[in-house]
């Protein structure tokens, strides 16, 4: 008999692949993947237009225009992952389809990994959409390569963090609405440090907060690379927050997966 955690029986595919394929089909063929991507494209188009117009009027440096667009692309792309992940388990609970999944011998962790892969696909698609915008704005100042690469790295770290966080919340909570609300509230809290007064941001506690918060740290890193022209290694310290957050959130989501079970009032 096959080892638990890999292939449930015989020569079938690994359980996480089976779940990921099903989730990807549901998300992109029958779900909200395409509408979300369309909304993302519209947002990016509007952002690009506005920054390009401001740049033409000399209100913005071109590097600032690239940085702003990149930050919007990364932040909103990661937000899409959160929306996908926060619905994944609690949505199954509400629709009454979780019990059927739990009745399979597939490891709980495989179910969560499969759902996580589907949620992360939203980031991959969003990033693919945003590359032409970044290229168009960045081509005049020679930062196309660094913008695309750094955006991919920071966005992937934030997407992994939000996927883990969303899956964790979705696993714990019974209600889909509650799961989405808690996830979005936490996301807003992560953006809050950007609204601190400049004086506070420049104090040691302000900088610590900005570095610990994976969102502000990641976006600051992008700004320093694009606007200040720093090398990727020069400000690598700003990536510690996003890396730690991504690892911790993904680990917690996998740990919670092992305790994934029905709740008292769950339907079939």
């Amino acid at each position: 008999m096959a080892a638990v955690g890999d292939r449930p029986v015989g020569v079938g595919r690994r359980a996480w692949m089976v779940v990921a394929e099903r989730e990807l089909r549901d998300l992109w063929l029958a779900g909200r993947g395409l509408p979300l991507l369309l909304a993302y494209s519209v947002l990016l188009s509007v952002t690009s237009y506005l920054v390009a117009a401001n740049q033409a009027l000399n209100f913005l440096e071109q590097r600032e225009a690239v940085s702003l667009t990149l930050q919007v692309a990364v932040a909103v792309g990661a937000l899409l992952v959160l929306l996908g992940a926060a619905d994944s388990v609690s949505g199954e609970r509400e629709r009454g389809t979780l019990e059927s999944l739990l009745l399979s011998p597939a490891p709980r962790r495989a179910l969560i990994i499969g759902k996580g892969v589907a949620a992360l696909s939203l980031w991959a698609a969003a990033w693919a959409v945003s590359v032409p915008y970044v290229w168009y704005l960045a081509r005049g100042v020679g930062v196309v390569g660094v913008a695309v690469a750094s955006g991919l790295i920071v966005g992937s770290l934030l997407a992994l963090f939000l996927a883990g966080y969303g899956l964790l919340i979705s696993t714990i909570l019974s209600s889909n609405r509650l799961s989405l609300s808690v996830s979005l509230f936490a996301l807003l809290a992560l953006y809050a440090p950007t609204q601190m007064p400049t004086a506070v941001q420049n104090s040691w506690i302000g900088e610590l907060l900005l570095r610990v918060d994976p969102f502000t740290a990641g976006l600051r890193y992008l700004g320093r690379l694009i606007i200040n022209g720093h090398s990727p290694g020069q400000d690598a310290g700003w990536l510690i927050g996003p890396i730690v957050a991504a690892v911790v959130a993904a680990s917690l989501a996998l740990a919670a997966a092992n305790r994934l079970t029905l709740h008292g009032g769950d339907q079939g």
């Binding site: 015989g10 020569v11 079938g12 063929l29 019990e99 739990l102 009745l103 399979s104 011998p105």
Partner: protein
Amino acid sequence: MAGALALQARGLRKAYRGVVAVESLDLEVEPGTVLGFLGPNGAGKTTVIRMLSTVLRPDAGWFAVAGVPQDQPVEIRRRVGVLPESAGYPPGQTGEEWVSFHAELFGRPRDDARATARRLLAEVGLAERGGSLISGYSRGMRQRLGIARALINDPQVVFLDEPTLGLDPMGQLQVLELMTGIAREHGVTIVLSTHLLAEVEQACDRVLILHRGRVVAQGTVAEVARRAAAPRRGLVKVPPQLRIRALEVLAASEAVAAAGAGDHPGELVLTMPGGAAPDNAASLALRRLLEADVPVLGFALEGGRLSDAFLTVTEDR
């Protein structure tokens, strides 16, 4: 694990936030049995099924399914099939896609999973609709689909939680026939949780009645009916002109109390006192009537059915 019991449980307990759902549940079910699992709403039936199918952890107690102890939940899940109560189905998938997906989760290669899905859909009468979206399925078709999914791993034990809930009488009959047919064909143990007592009398070998999380009766259908709801009343038909004579004869009998049956001049109601063996008391009363030359045109004992037993053991104690 040959010769192992299909189900075995000792002292199972489960509470939700302090509210006890199942308490001290002991259970033994032989392989191949069709067990009727009865109880009023909230009796704990679904909780027991969820514990035995390892999707809920018991707070206390021990159980084994098909000889596999509870500390090997993955192995138990390989051996059980479950039709959950009020199961949800993804409306955007076809029946074949959904069953095939679950077959793959049980480790079947993709082609084998599809072939298994098609075979099972044909077995439950959905061959023609396997390629249709589930959103277009009726309630009965969804239940059949759920039964097909419950069989994808050739289970040794199948739990059916309210399989006829919400179905019309024809749908109930079809699902019941399907279920008993599968039980016969595959030789599996079936646990049928239901409120429809006629279903249990018709389809089940044994019955277990749960009330407030505790087992209040179990045995064969006949045993439970006899033990829990022994008949205490009988209706005797005699010629109307001999009714008074019959009452006089029976008044002399200590085994029963007799009275006229309201508007029916030829009918008498016999009441057997508690503690007496009802069959013996009724026989004695009928013999007295015959010895007194009062013809007995008809006789029927009331009670003694599973429904009576159910009401008897689940009324508040």
